[in-house]
Amino acid sequence: MPEAKLSLRGVQKSFGDNQVLRGIDLDVAAGEMICLIGASGSGKSTLLRCINQLEPIDDGTVWLDGLDISEPGLDLGPVRRRIGIVFQSYNLFPHMSALDNVLLAPRRVLGEDNKARAEALFERFGLAQHMRKYPDQLSGGQQQRVAVIRALAMQPEIMLFDEITAALDPELVGEVLNVLRQLRSEGMTMILATHEMGFARELADRVCFMDGGVIVEEGPPEQMFTAPEVARTQAFLRSVLR
């Protein structure tokens, strides 16, 4: 059994005849930040959803602190609150204020009504004056930051980010990336699927290039972006870094 915070071995996932993940091995240490890069359809999003077991995997194993969380039939409630996830499309609950979005899960799942802590989170990410607003009154960047706060309110040990800036107007991307920088500096363990190559290069401990459902190449960002070894990685980086 691997020692890492999170470990994947031979993870496979198909949707019908379409095999999306073809055997993923990955170890993530506590406090590490990993960026998954690769073309659309390479399996990045599916991999994230298989990590928090939103999608049950077909074969292989996912360990969280040595606990096999991919075991069929396992009660996933306790697992999911340890792994936060933020989606590309925010998915805030539109009928609740930003603050209620953040408070719902702690109230119902943890049975605690810690408004002060939620408000502190809004404060920390510069949204204190917006927390009474409803999602449709907020910009995309603000909504996405609320989604991050909502996930953080469950005090997860790992955060997954599924292309969280991909749906944003270019001028709003910065404010969301700043949130990630802040989390990084606080030592959060994070896995990002991202198209923001500059950001991946700046902050990631490790970059994994995915193609066709496997991790083709992985390494420190400097090496990955300046001297990739595999031809497919080189081709992909040439096409996006042009």
């Binding site: 939103l54 998915n91 899960a105 119902r108």
Partner: protein, 269 residues
């Protein structure tokens, strides 16, 4: 005014003029032609008798209060049962499978039978079991018939609302660690119910009218009272009075439902 505004103003004037002339022509035709029909004097005397109208209006209005009363106590029962049936139909746990089947059968039966038949069968059938007073009251069993029928419709509307909520909302809730029940109660249902309010308003307008069907099993509400007057006065005007009273309630209600529907559509486009 710029060129476009001038053009649009001229177009508007033209449309208004055309609409006015055509409406006037149709109204004039009706007013002039209908009285020319050979039976018109007789119809006028038996359906539009001013004296009978004034004479029967107060009593009919009072009888209408019975309809309103039955409506008022039926609505909460219908909404409650409709919600329960909608949730039963969506139950996924294997142990709840019988509940799912029951929900499906229930909806099929009560949407498939004409309301008036359900009212007859339950309104005459159940008291026929020899229940003691007050349990043989047509008010009770008539209400039961209405509740059974309309909750089936409301359940279907609610279910369509629940299914219209995008799966990403459910995923977001699940990923936060919320259970199935909390997800339904705090995330899905509030959005679903809001979305189907206009459709349910239309249901309730239909219900308000169908309450009059209870007259067939006994209660002297507005339709039956109008029938009594018809026999008494040998005149159909009381029915017209009843229709006018219904319209006074249902027209504003349907307009309001339409307004909600339009606002909803605008908000989503």
């Amino acid at each position: 005014m710029n060129r476009r505004q001038t053009y649009e103003a001229a177009q508007r004037r033209r449309s208004l003029a055309v609409a006015g002339v055509s409406t006037f022509a149709v109204l004039a035709a009706i007013i002039l032609l209908v009285p020319l029909a050979p039976g018109w004097p007789a119809v006028k005397a038996s359906f539009f008798d001013g004296g009978v109208f004034v004479q029967t209006f107060p009593t009919l209005l009072r009888a209408f209060l019975i309809d309103v009363m039955i409506f008022a106590w039926s609505v909460p029962l219908i909404l409650g049962l409709g919600l329960a049936i909608a949730l039963a139909r969506g139950a996924r746990a294997p142990a709840l499978f019988p509940l799912r089947i029951f929900g499906a059968v229930y909806v099929d039966i009560f949407r498939g039978v004409p309301v008036v038949l359900t009212i007859y069968l339950i309104g005459f059938g159940v008291p026929g079991l020899g229940l003691p007073r007050p349990w043989n009251s047509p008010y009770i069993w008539g209400t039961v018939a209405l509740v059974l029928t309309y909750s089936a419709y409301i359940a279907e509307v609610l279910r369509s609302g629940i299914e219209s909520i995008h799966a990403s909302q459910r995923n977001a809730a699940i990923c936060l660690g919320l259970g199935e029940r909390d997800t339904m109660r705090y995330v899905i249902l509030p959005q679903a119910i809001r979305r189907v309010v206009p459709a349910n308003m239309n249901m309730l307008v239909a219900l308000q009218k169908d309450v009059a069907l209870l007259s067939f099993i006994g209660p002297v509400e507005i339709l039956r009272q109008a029938g009594i007057y018809k026999s008494l006065l040998a005149n159909f005007t009381p029915y017209v009075v009843a229709a006018v009273i219904f319209l006074a309630v249902t027209v504003p209600a349907t307009r309001y439902a339409d307004h909600l529907l339009n606002r909803d559509r605008d908000a989503r486009s």
